[in-house]
């Protein structure tokens, strides 16, 4: 039985996790750690029971510590929370990339790393950040990746109970290896962001002075550029910690674009369209590969 969970960073994701735990009858105590004004709001919304300003003090007595900050901050926080952890407590996170933080956990916990740290990544979010957008149903139906440090070995005890809790709040738990996770996310999340950013930035360069012309673009354009409004502060950490996979995927896209540029007037372009159509044909919401839970 988990008696206490600490959530460090009670913004959109951390706050939503607190709300979801409460809504789904989690009986233990929830400690939050963030800036004072954020903690006040989190407490008022009942996302947390109690706020503590200092990260390492906030971990005391908890069975699970969730680092719900951007990746860079989480990497820094591991070292700070490690000394005050309970003997059987585990640390987990919600960051967008998993390899760099796994590497850091190995440095901090050494041999104990696979038992102490369980890297996680919920595939949920909104364009807006902050506790005021927190939503107890944010994770319902969303995939929640876990990337244990050694193969299939899940940390025992608190780790298993945490997984059970994630399922209880409606998340679909799926297991991957850290590097495989980063490669997958490069393709399904980071590359779409870079393409949207490149398109939006080019549009501003070409027609920025003539806003009305840009507004004449329809729904397709709005959809293609919607995520271009995402904050750099979040993507900086993602790109810094997943440079290899993103660069490899970008090269593939560049090759594809070069091929299309070369074949604008040939039937090769038709083959390209046909291949692209297969994405939707083979995609159905129930097909999620080897997802457990």
């Amino acid at each position: 039985m988990l008696r206490q969970i600490t959530i460090i960073g009670t913004g959109l994701i951390g706050g939503s996790l607190g709300l979801a735990l409460r809504k789904n009858k989690f009986k233990g105590k929830i400690i939050g750690c963030d800036r004072p004004e954020v903690l006040r709001r989190a407490k008022r919304l009942h996302a947390i029971d109690h706020g503590v300003a200092d990260p390492s003090a906030a971990c005391e007595g908890s069975d699970v510590v969730v680092l719900a900050t951007p990746v860079g901050a989480a990497i820094e926080l591991i070292g700070k929370v490690a000394p005050r952890l309970n003997l059987n407590a585990i640390v987990t996170d919600v960051g967008s990339t998993k390899f760099e933080i796994a590497l850091r956990a190995r440095q901090v916990f050494g041999e104990d790393a696979p038992r102490k740290f369980l890297p996680g990544h919920p595939m949920a979010g909104k364009e807006n950040s902050g506790i005021k957008y927190a939503d107890p149903d944010l994770f319902r139906g969303a995939v929640w990746f876990l990337t244990p440090l050694v193969g299939k070995n899940l940390p025992a005890g608190a780790g298993r109970e945490y997984v059970a809790l994630l399922k209880r709040i409606g998340a679909k738990v799926a297991f991957l290896d850290p590097a495989g996770h980063d490669r997958l996310c490069a393709w399904i999340s980071h590359i779409p962001q870079m393409i949207s950013t490149a398109l939006a930035a080019s549009l501003v360069e070409e027609y920025g002075e003539e806003a009305p012309l840009l507004e004449s673009g329809g729904r397709a354009l709005r959809e293609m550029t919607r995520i271009a409004s995402s904050p750099y502060s979040m993507w900086r950490d993602v790109t810094l910690t997943n440079k290899k996979s993103i660069a490899e995927a970008l090269l593939k896209i560049e090759q594809r674009l070069a091929h299309i540029r070369e074949n604008l007037d040939t039937r090769e372009l038709e083959a390209e369209f046909n291949q692209a159509h297969q994405l939707r044909k083979s995609h159905s919401p129930r097909r999620h590969g080897k997802i457990i839970g």
Partner: protein, 339 residues
């Protein structure tokens, strides 16, 4: 793959790594040094991400030592591949082989005129397209079988090998009696069905680099052919798409020494398609030989202004002859001769 353990790694940590590697399908060879343990993992898991080992406790460094291609890799034949033809001509040896001819075979008169001129200037292989699927259905589509017969006749008359492009599997059988080298065009570099069929032959293949392909991808395509048993492959740099728009493509001269380093296969250069402009062909041909190309592919037309395809990049016979003279001076500077 080599896994170097930290000096402080415990026996338990080493065992975890060994078990992980075995789980992943590798066989593991262990060297226990006085200070450090090194694990050599042998197996063919091209998709294995070495980073997953780096997160294990006690691991210091992980190095992948094998390229994703094996047969095409330099270590398969460290001395290099030399392809020898019936008439004694060798590609991949000390001699640089110049292959020339019109973009496409248009008529008997055209082909024999060009063939005689380039043979006199020193070309050792006659190139010419028989099938020309063009963008517009109204453009010249090539003479097909008729062209192949003409190429063979002209090649025999002037003692030149014959090279022509194969575009689909159905053409292979038709072409074999007439050509010495089958060329795979840039557009077909990743047509794996075609490559698989070519792997069943013994006829040498000239494999052109795709317009947006990396060097690794060219070698993987070569690997595809070699996996079927045909080791007679000449890679060919023909220009890639870059941000430069002045020339149609950017001839990647650097690919020549890189492929020589990574692979044992001979490499040719095609400055005609690589630049797309007549006045740039000779300088890039000279640069290719200086960079170590084993063969050149050059388009020559006796009347380029009236060529039915790619006239703008075809050399006049006189220009070709002058180019050959300069190549004969450049080759010795890099320890080669012109065949």
């Amino acid at each position: 793959m080599i896994v170097a353990m930290q000096e402080t790694a415990t026996e338990d940590q080493i065992q975890v790594v060994v078990e992980h590697l075995i789980d992943m399908g590798f066989s593991v060879h262990r060297t226990t040094g006085e200070r450090q343990t090194i694990l050599a993992a042998v197996g063919s898991r091209a998709d294995f991400d070495t980073r997953n080992l780096e997160v294990l406790s006690g691991v210091m460094e992980v190095h992948r030592i094998s390229a994703p291609y094996k047969l095409a890799g330099r270590s398969f034949r460290p001395q290099g591949t030399i392809i020898e033809f019936r008439n004694g001509l060798k590609v991949g040896g000390k001699e640089v082989v110049v292959m020339a001819g019109p973009c496409s075979v248009e008529s008997r008169e055209q082909l024999f005129t060009v063939a005689e001129l380039i043979a006199k200037a020193g070309a050792r292989a006659l190139r010419g397209g028989a099938f020309k699927p063009r963008t517009s259905p109204y453009s010249f589509q090539g003479l097909g079988l008729e062209a192949l017969k003409l190429l063979r006749e002209a090649g025999d008359k002037y003692n030149m090998l014959v090279i022509s492009e194969v575009m689909e599997i159905s053409q292979i059988e038709l072409m074999l009696p007439y050509v010495d080298i089958l060329q795979v065009g840039a557009r077909n570099m990743q047509n794996f069905n075609l490559l698989r069929e070519l792997g069943k032959l013994k006829t040498p293949i000239l494999l052109k680099r795709g317009i947006a392909a990396t060097i690794e991808e060219v070698l993987l395509s070569a690997e595809y052919i070699m996996a079927g048993g045909n080791y007679n492959i000449i890679c060919c740099e023909r220009g890639i798409r870059t941000f430069e728009t002045y020339t149609r493509n950017t001839l990647d001269i650097c690919a020549i020494p890189v492929i020589h380093k990574l692979s044992h296969l001979p490499i040719a250069s095609d400055p005609s398609h690589g630049t797309g402009r007549r006045d740039k062909v000779a300088p890039m041909a000279r640069a290719s030989v200086a960079a170590g190309a084993d063969a050149l592919l050059i388009e020559v037309h006796h009347n380029p202004d009236k060529a039915l395809s790619d006239g703008a990049q075809s050399l006049y016979p006189q220009q070709f002859s002058e180019l050959m003279d300069s190549l004969k001076m450049i080759a010795p500077a890099v320890g080669r001769t012109i065949a």
